[in-house]
Each structure stands twice: as C-alpha cells, then as structure tokens.
C-alpha cells in the first residue's frame, strides 16, 4: 500500500515535471491573461488610474460618504424617510441645540471633561514614558513597553467593567480603605465624574503614552549631558531641553486622547450617572429612545465633530505645528 503510493507520487513528480511550466510561467504564457494585462497596463497613465481607482472610490464611498450624509440629514425635517412624505429642508435641528439647556450642558461638559481627562492623562503618563525612554536599558525597553501594551488590547467594554469592579462600593479600593481603618462606610466612587475620569484615563492612556515615548526616546542623552555641563539643574534641563523636544509627542498624544475621549459612549453610560451625562449619550438618545429624531442627532453629531476638530486644530496651531505629522 505504502509502496504503491510512493511509486505513484514518484511518477507524478518525475514524468510531467520536466515538461511542465511553473505556475507563473503558465500564467504569463496564458493568452487571455496576456491580452487582459496588455489592455490594463497599456500606458503609465492607465496603470496609475487603475491603481488609484479603488483607493479613491473607497475613500469617497467609505470615508467621505458617511460624513456628507450625516450633514445632509441634519438639514432635513424627517429621516429615515416615511412613505408618502417628501422631507423638507430646515434649520430647526440645529436650533434645537441652543433651545434647551439639557443639550448645551452635556455638550460643554463633554468638552470640559475631555480637556481635563487629556491633561490628567498627560500628567500621569509623562513620567512613565520618560522613565521608559531614559531610565530603562534599551534592550529592556520593548519588554517594559509590552507590559503596558497588554491591557490595551482588551476592549473598551471589558476594561470599563474592570473599573466598575475596582471602584464599586464593595470594590477593591473601598476594601483596602476599610481594612486600613480609614473609612467606616464605603465611599460611593461610582457614577460620578471621578469614576468616569478614572475609566477614561484607563482607556486612553496608551494613546498618550506611545507618542510621548517615541518623542522622548529620540532625544539624545548628550543633549541633557551638555545642558548639565553648562550648569543647568534637573528642573532647568527638563523645562529647557526635554519638554520642548518632546513637544511633538505631547501634541499628537493630546490630540488623539482628546478626540477619542469626546467619542466614548459605553464608558459614560456604565461609569457615569445622571449628573455626568455627556454629549455622546445625548446624541445616542436621538437614535434609540426618542424614535425618529435622527436629523437632530445628526445635527448634534456634526456640531460635536466640528467642535472637536476645531479645538484640536487650534491646539495644534498653538503648539506650532500643522496636523500634517499627526499620523506619522
């Protein structure tokens, strides 16, 4: 049995082998393939258009389309379309925003929270990034960085839940405080801006940490040594050398964290309470609870998007760079 198998395999391999073309040779020799590619690759211009077609169409369809639709809907008086009714153009969705404080307050709250959380994330992660970049041996840096990366692969929901367990009335923090005799009754951390802050910082820290780390890692130690040699103390070295040279990292980190934290929905729902309602919850409400108020939701989303982009734009301008390097 085994022998026959081997023999057959031998025959299969040896006999046709010598007369067979390789796969790619056969492809190239195929007439249909030849004429198809001949047509497609006829000129450099045609090759360029062919290569550009899918990316351009995709970007228009997938990246620009949804935003344009959202903006369009925000000017309609009803959407999704109802049978037999032609939607009319209106500005009332936009006016809603200014009409009621239950809309404006979450809006400003979101922006304020995002700024505060961004600054908090920066302050917390800067020393961590600095330690990693300047005090850990280069060969160990990847390992130390990996240690920080692992929790960030876990999704938003699972990590939010983990914070809920940490901060709950019967959670670890209260347990520790109680066993130390510092408190008698648990402190109600949950459903406050504190729990929301802890959660958001937990969720976004990586987006701050990585740009900071890569900026700090690029600063040659000789710069700091030169500064020390010229008589600069630790604080002066930090303020006059390290901080300015890590500006790029600070700018991209803050931009990312700010944009991301304005967009969280699940974390505020799970960690926050009635006094911490953010704009994301307001927007979502128009799509879930209130029936067909999509146009208002679309208008509010657009307001949020424009505000977030405008604020990051101004911020980047103030930091003295264009948004150009952001994605690098």
């Amino acid at each position: 049995m085994i022998q026959t198998d081997t023999q057959r395999a031998d025959e299969r391999d040896t006999v046709p082998l010598s007369t067979r073309r390789s796969f790619w040779g056969a492809v190239m020799a195929n007439g249909a393939y030849g004429s198809a590619t001949g047509l497609l690759f006829k000129s450099q211009r045609r090759q360029f258009l062919l290569l550009a077609s899918v990316p351009i169409l995709w970007i228009l369809f997938a990246n620009v389309g949804p935003i344009l639709q959202m903006v369009r809907i925000s000017f309609l008086d009803s959407y999704p379309p109802m049978a037999g009714y032609q939607p009319q153009l209106t500005l009332s969705n936009w006016n809603n925003f200014f009409a009621e404080s239950i809309f404006i307050v979450p809006y400003f709250r979101t922006l304020a929270y995002s700024v505060v959380f961004t600054v908090a994330t920066l302050i917390i992660t800067y020393p961590v990034a600095y330690f990693l970049a300047k005090h850990v041996k280069r060969s160990n840096q990847l390992l130390f960085l990996l240690l920080l990366l692992i929790p960030f692969w876990v999704g938003e929901i699972v990590r939010t839940y983990a914070i809920m367990i940490l901060l709950g009335n019967n959670g670890a923090v209260n347990l520790v405080l109680k066993s130390l005799g510092l408190i008698e009754r648990p402190i109600p951390f949950m459903y406050t801006s504190f729990s929301l802050g802890v959660g958001i910082v937990y969720l976004t820290a990586l987006y701050m940490l990585l740009p900071l780390y890569s900026a700090l890692e690029k600063i040659p130690n000789t710069y700091l040594e030169a500064a020390a040699d010229l008589g600069a103390g630790a604080w002066t070295r930090f303020r006059r050398v390290t901080l300015p040279l890590s500006k790029e990292g600070i700018a991209s980190g803050c931009t990312l964290v700010f944009l991301i934290s304005t967009g969280y929905y699940a974390a505020p729902v799970l960690l926050g309470g009635p006094s911490t309602t953010v704009f994301a919850e307001t927007i979502a409400g128009f799509f879930h609870v209130a029936g067909d108020q999509w146009p208002t939701g679309a208008a509010f989303s657009t307001i949020m998007l424009i505000s977030a982009l405008a604020i990051t734009g101004v911020f980047l301008k103030l930091m003295g760079r264009s948004g150009r390097g952001l994605m690098q």
Binding site: N63, F131, V154, Y161, I165, G168, V269, F287
Partner: protein, 263 residues
Amino acid sequence: MSRNTRILMSVIYWAFVVYLFVPLVLMVTMGFKDSKFIGFPIRGWTLDWYSEIFRSAEVLGAFGYTMAIALSTTFLSLVIGTWIAAFLGPHKFRGKLLVFALACMPAVIPGIISAISLRIYIQFLQIDTGMAAIILGHTIHNVPFVALVVMARLATLPKSHIEAARDLGADQLVAFSRVTLPYLKPALIGAGVFCMLLSFDDFVRSFFLGSYQPTLPVLIFAKLRSGMSPEINAISTVVLVITAILGIWAERSMRRMNKGTSV
C-alpha cells in the same frame, strides 16, 4: 538626574503598571467567585460560571458572530488598506496630502460620531442593521490602520527589487504578487491581527449597526445594564485571553518586521 528622581520615576512606572493590571486581575478573580454578588469579601471559589457560559447558546452565538465579523473585516481591510498603501506610498501627485488625510480620517473621528454617521449611511444605502452593516463599519474604521502599517513597510522596499522583477520578465501584477507581497508579509500579518483585535473589541459601531444578534462586547454591555454578575466576568475573561493572545502575536510579527528581512 539624581538618584531620588530615578527612584521616584520607577515607582511611578510600577504604580502605573499596577493601575493597569489590578482592575483586570480583579475582574478575572471575580469570575471564579462562588456567589452571584460581585465584590468583596470572597468566601468560596467555583468554575461554574465558565461551564455555564460554555454551554450558553447566547454566549457561543455571540462569540461565533463576533469572530465571523472580525475575520471578514480583517480580510476586507487588508485588501483595501494594502491597495491604498500601494497607491499612496510610492506615487507623488497633486493633492496627495488631502487624499492621505481623508484616507486616515476614520481612525481619528470620535467613536460616537463614526457610529452615528455610519448608522445614517447604511440607512441611506438601504443596508439592514446586522452583520453586513457591522462588517462595513469595522472595515471603514480599520482600513487606515492597515494602510499606515503597510505604507511604512513599503517605504523600506528598495525600488530596485520591483525593477529587477520587471527586468526578468514579470509584468506589474506578477512583480506585485511575487516580490512586493512576500516582502509585505510581516506587515500584513501584524496589521491583520490588529484588525482582528479592533473588530473583536469594538463596541460603539457594533452597538449602533447591529440588530438583534449581539457581538460579544455588545452582549457584555447589555448584561451589565441589567446588573453585574460573575457570568459577565467569565465572558470578559475569555475575551481578555483571546485578545491578549492576538495582541502578543501581532506584536511579535511587527517586531520581526522592524528587524527587517531586506538584504
């Protein structure tokens, strides 16, 4: 830097590590607690929650659904992202910066706005909420990441390699499949696993684009809204283990890529 600041720095680093890990450790621990009530004290241990979720049609269904979405999303994102990278990477043309910015846009748009605009968009395209809508949404979100990773790798491919292939008789397509693609392999593996992670973890898009069948994060969210339970911990722990494995795999393949295989 003085000795004291150095020590202070390392204390901050390790405190940060503790901050990152303690919540997760707690969450995993609670999944083994022999009580329906989440919190301290813990009086007994059990594996019941795990055996329960592995028998739960709801959980297994959500897992399969999430996996199917993640795999399809990854495939689509790799194809489109690589195509965009192949276009934007080596070519110079007017308006390239604008095209590049638009290509990256979905990666930086705040989550809720991305989800809402997609919800409106699928209505406009007359795609029902559900799997197709989620796959579309995830793909839109993931493509920029693939494009960026592949572009970074492509930038290190010497132009002469493609020219050598052309010189030896390969047309553009054959040169791409036989030289460019193998060269991109580590980047594609890394970006692919990263896409799996993003899709597997995504909540906000899956939540707004999904129908009755929930993905795992949406299922956890729904269960959380009706109260914490060790069952949720067990599900979350499974998710955590899967994502950690995927993450380490992605990290390893990206490392290998950075070490470089070019000659």
